[in-house]
Amino acid sequence: MIEQLASNPFFGIVLSVSLYLTGQKLHKRWPIPLFTPLVFAIIMTIVILLAFGISYESYFNGGQYINMWITPATVALAIKLKKNIAHLKKNVTAILSGIGIGVIFHTVIIVLLSLLFQFNEELAATLFPKSVTTAIALGVSESLGGIASLTVAVVVFTGVLGAVIGPTLFNWLNVTDPVAQGVAMGSGSHAMGTTKAIEMGDVQGAMSGLSIVLTGIAVVILAPLGLMLIQLFF
């Protein structure tokens, strides 16, 4: 009976949204990474599904209606890009070379570590897009033959980690320039880094939002190269 009721689309939607809202409340009261609404909602949904023996397929009957909004939301990132294009024009060389070098370096690191840990092709493809915003990472992971849900988990973890350690890193390395801070947060830890960047200042926030989109595009452009490396080594 539980499985039958859980197959109703509203089950998945109500469960996901209510846990997200609960996470928001908890995070306001206790701002620890575990209570980041997305992290909390994913973990608790899994716990509840497992506890009641509900299959992912039943849950996804409702989940798919949330999932389908990812594409239009990604398309809407164009609005952020358009609004921040003036910031980009002012420091175009620094921003584009920073992101370009960062993405290439990131690809190299992923390939090296994947070789070191003897990951297979599937896992390397899963990890390749990990620093970009979830929507783009999902698409890239799927098109390279990675495991989409694992990519989401890795991307979320990257975002939480980046938001937590970013400011400390800037302190250690004496990165004080607000543009540099924003670009680093956005390209290294996407939307969650941007949330932190917005707290750091207006320039940081705008630059971080812009960098999410630019890094996403850079990763998409570099994806065929990533695929080549993966096929070469794995």
Binding site: G98, H106, V175
Partner: protein, 135 residues
């Protein structure tokens, strides 16, 4: 009605992106192509910002919630995670830390260099201080 019209544009560009992705020989996510199309449309004034702004910003500002179902999909992959979890932790930790550090340092170095040059040519010493040289 306004929201419906705005969503209509977002859905139209989403579908256009998917169609283009299907037709393109290289694997590019349809959502990204849709975003590029939308950006071009805004840039060249084929559509106006007001025609998409409200619904679009609402979606991007609340994007996190959309990834719950995809993330819950993890439960179908416990097998793989069980065998490589600590390697994954190391990969994420190293790559994220190094990426943020490298990008931050690189962008700051290039900005300072270009400001130093322009300051020198203008015989100004203001930008030498380094901090907050932009704006």
């Amino acid at each position: 009605m306004k929201i419906i019209k705005q969503l209509f544009w977002l859905f139209t560009f989403s579908f256009a992106g998917e169609v283009l992705s299907y037709l393109s020989p290289v694997a590019v996510p349809g959502s990204v192509l849709g975003m590029v199309l939308m950006f071009l449309a805004l840039q060249f004034n084929w559509i106006k910002m007001e025609q998409v702004e409200e619904a679009g910003e609402w979606l991007t500002n609340n994007m996190a919630i959309l990834f719950i179902p995809a993330g819950v999909g993890l439960m179908t992959n416990f097998g793989i995670i069980g065998t490589v979890w600590w390697q994954l932790l190391i990969v994420v930790f190293l790559s994220t830390t190094l990426m943020i550090a490298l990008v931050g340092v690189t962008v700051q170095a290039i900005i300072r260099k270009s400001h130093k040059q322009s300051a020198q040519t203008a015989k100004s010493t203001l930008a030498w201080k380094g901090e907050r040289v932009i704006d």
